[in-house]
C-alpha cells in the first residue's frame, strides 16, 4: 500500500480540517492506494483529482451521461456504475477498474476499443471511455446481443457529437469479432 501524493492539493476545498476527512484503502487499476478525501466527495472526484486517474470523465456529474462509468467492486462482485454518484468512502477496501484496465498495460487496445476505431465511433472522445466500459460489460455478460439489447445497455451513456449509429455498429463488430464470426 502506497500513500499517494495529492496531485491537486487545492481540490474542492481540500479536506476542511481533520473532522471532515476520511481515510480508506482503494485499489484502482491494480494499484493499491490509501486515500484521504472529504467525507462527501464522489468516487469520480477522488479518482480524477486526488489520484490523477483521468480515464473516467466529468460530464454531467449527476448520473445522466455515463462519461464517468467505471467497474467497481464494493464488496458485491462488481459492476459498472456512475462514479460521480458514489460517495467515495463507500468504496473503502474495494476495487475500481477504469478504462485503463480494459486495454493492455502497454497501451494495447481491447477488441471493443479496436472496433470503436474501425467503425469511426469516436468523435470528440469525452464519452468514449464510458461507452467502451458499458459496452465491454455488455459483451462480457451477453456475447451475442441484439441491436435492441445494445441500445438498452448503452441507454445511460450520452454522446453529444450524435454518434450513436457508429457506436452501436462498433459494439456489433466487437461482438462478431469476439464470437469469431467476423
Amino acid at each position: 500500500m502506497t500513500a499517494v501524493e495529492d496531485p491537486r492539493p487545492e481540490v474542492a476545498g481540500g479536506t476542511d480540517g481533520p473532522d471532515s476527512s476520511v481515510t480508506f484503502a482503494l485499489t484502482v487499476d491494480g494499484t493499491a492506494h490509501e486515500v484521504t478525501a472529504r467525507w462527501d466527495e464522489s468516487l469520480l472526484t477522488v479518482l480524477r483529482d486526488r489520484l490523477g486517474v483521468r480515464g473516467p470523465k466529468t460530464g454531467c456529474a449527476h448520473g445522466r451521461c455515463g462519461a464517468c462509468a467505471v467497474k467497481a467492486d464494493l464488496g458485491d462482485g462488481g459492476h459498472v456504475l456512475c462514479s460521480c454518484l458514489v460517495p467515495a468512502a463507500t468504496a473503502a477496501g474495494g476495487t475500481v477498474e477504469t478504462i485503463a484496465s480494459i486495454g493492455g498495460p502497454d497501451g494495447a487496445l481491447s477488441d471493443v476499443q479496436e472496433a470503436f476505431l474501425a467503425e469511426g465511433a469516436v468523435q470528440c472522445g469525452i464519452c468514449t471511455s464510458g461507452f467502451v466500459t458499458a459496452a465491454t460489460e455488455l459483451l462480457d455478460t451477453n456475447p451475442d446481443p441484439t441491436r435492441t439489447e445494445i441500445e438498452a445497455a448503452l441507454y445511460g451513456n450520452l454522446c453529444r457529437c450524435t454518434g450513436y449509429g457508429r457506436i452501436v455498429a462498433a459494439v456489433e463488430t466487437a461482438a462478431r469479432t469476439r464470437r469469431g464470426d467476423a
Binding site: 456529474a61 449527476h62 445511460g156
Partner: protein
C-alpha cells in the same frame, strides 16, 4: 464497521447500522447515493455527515415469505427489472439509466418519498407493507399512509427501512408514466394498476403531495374492466379524485388530464390481459 470517521460511517451489519443511526441522528442515511450526491452538488440539501448502508449485505436481495415478495431495502433497482410483479418490473425498468439502476435502491426510492418517484404507485396499488427496524425491534406498517408529505415519512428516530413486502398475486400488474421527453425522464405523472379476480386497483404518482389512491377510482376502474362503465366515466372519476401540483413542468390541468389517460390505458391493458377487451 468498515469505516468510522467523524462525518462518515460505513457499517457492515444491520446491528452496526442501527447503532450508528441511534448515535448519529444528524447524519443523512445514504444507500446508492444516486439522489443524495446530486442534491449535495446542487446544494438542494446540506448534510452533517453520511451513514452509508451500501455495504450492509443483509439489506440486499429478495426472498419470499408466506406469499409476500420481501425486498431488502438495499436491493438495487436493477434487480427489480426482472421481478415477478409486472408493475414493479415496469416501474424499475423506467427508472434512470442502467448505470443508475445498479446503485439506486428501493429503500432510497421509498424513503426519499417525493411524489414522482417511480416505485411508489406500484407499491401503493399492490398493497405493500414496510418493515421499519430500530434497536427496539421491527414494526410492519402499510405503505399506504407512510408518506405524509413530499419527502416526509412516518419513519421514527432511530429507525431504518429494512424491507419492502409486496403481496405476490396472481393477476395483472403494470405501471406507466409520462414525462416531457422519451428518454431519462422524471414522471410528470404516473400510475400503477393491479387487477385480480375482476377487481382493479389504481394508484397515482404526482397526483397530489403524496402517493394517491381512492375507492371511487377503483370502483370506476373495476366497472370499466367489467364493461359496466365507459372510459369517460373513469377519466372523470380520476379528475375529481386527484389534486395534482402546478409547477414549471406541467399545469395541474394537464396532470389531471394525463392521469385520466394513464388510468384508462392501464385498465385497458388489464382487460386485454384478462381476455375481457381488445
Amino acid at each position: 464497521m468498515l469505516l468510522e470517521a467523524p462525518r462518515f460511517v460505513l457499517p457492515e451489519t444491520l446491528a452496526e447500522a442501527l447503532a450508528a443511526r441511534a448515535e448519529r441522528p444528524e447524519a443523512v442515511v445514504v444507500a446508492g447515493g444516486t439522489e443524495v450526491m446530486p442534491d449535495l452538488l446542487w446544494r438542494n440539501r446540506t448534510a452533517a455527515g453520511f451513514l452509508s448502508l451500501r455495504r450492509v449485505a443483509a439489506l440486499r436481495g429478495t426472498t419470499t415469505d408466506g406469499g409476500d415478495l420481501v425486498i431488502g431495502a438495499g436491493t438495487p433497482v436493477a434487480a427489480l427489472t426482472t421481478a415477478p410483479d409486472g408493475g414493479l418490473r415496469a416501474a424499475a425498468s423506467s427508472l434512470g439509466t442502467p448505470l443508475v439502476r445498479t446503485e439506486a435502491t428501493i429503500g432510497g426510492n421509498v424513503v426519499s418519498a417525493l411524489p414522482y418517484r417511480n416505485l411508489l404507485p406500484t407499491l401503493l396499488a399492490g398493497g405493500a407493507t414496510l418493515e421499519l427496524t430500530s434497536a427496539a425491534g421491527t414494526r410492519v406498517v402499510p405503505f399506504d399512509g407512510f408518506v405524509t408529505a413530499p419527502g416526509v415519512t412516518g419513519l421514527r428516530e432511530g429507525e431504518l427501512l429494512t424491507a419492502v413486502r409486496l403481496p405476490a398475486h396472481v393477476g395483472f400488474a403494470d405501471y406507466a408514466k409520462v414525462g416531457r421527453r422519451n428518454a431519462q425522464f422524471v414522471a410528470t405523472v404516473s400510475a400503477a394498476v393491479v387487477s385480480r379476480d375482476g377487481v382493479a386497483r389504481l394508484a397515482f404518482g404526482n397526483a397530489g403531495p403524496i402517493p394517491l389512491r381512492s375507492d371511487a377510482v377503483d370502483t370506476a376502474a373495476t366497472a370499466l374492466l367489467d364493461g359496466q362503465a365507459t372510459a369517460d366515466d373513469l377519466r372523470s372519476t380520476v379528475a375529481a379524485a386527484v389534486d395534482p401540483p402546478e409547477d414549471a413542468v406541467a399545469s395541474a390541468d394537464y396532470r389531471r388530464h394525463a392521469l385520466g389517460v394513464l388510468a384508462v390505458r392501464l385498465v385497458t391493458r388489464a382487460a386485454v390481459d384478462a381476455g375481457l377487451g381488445s
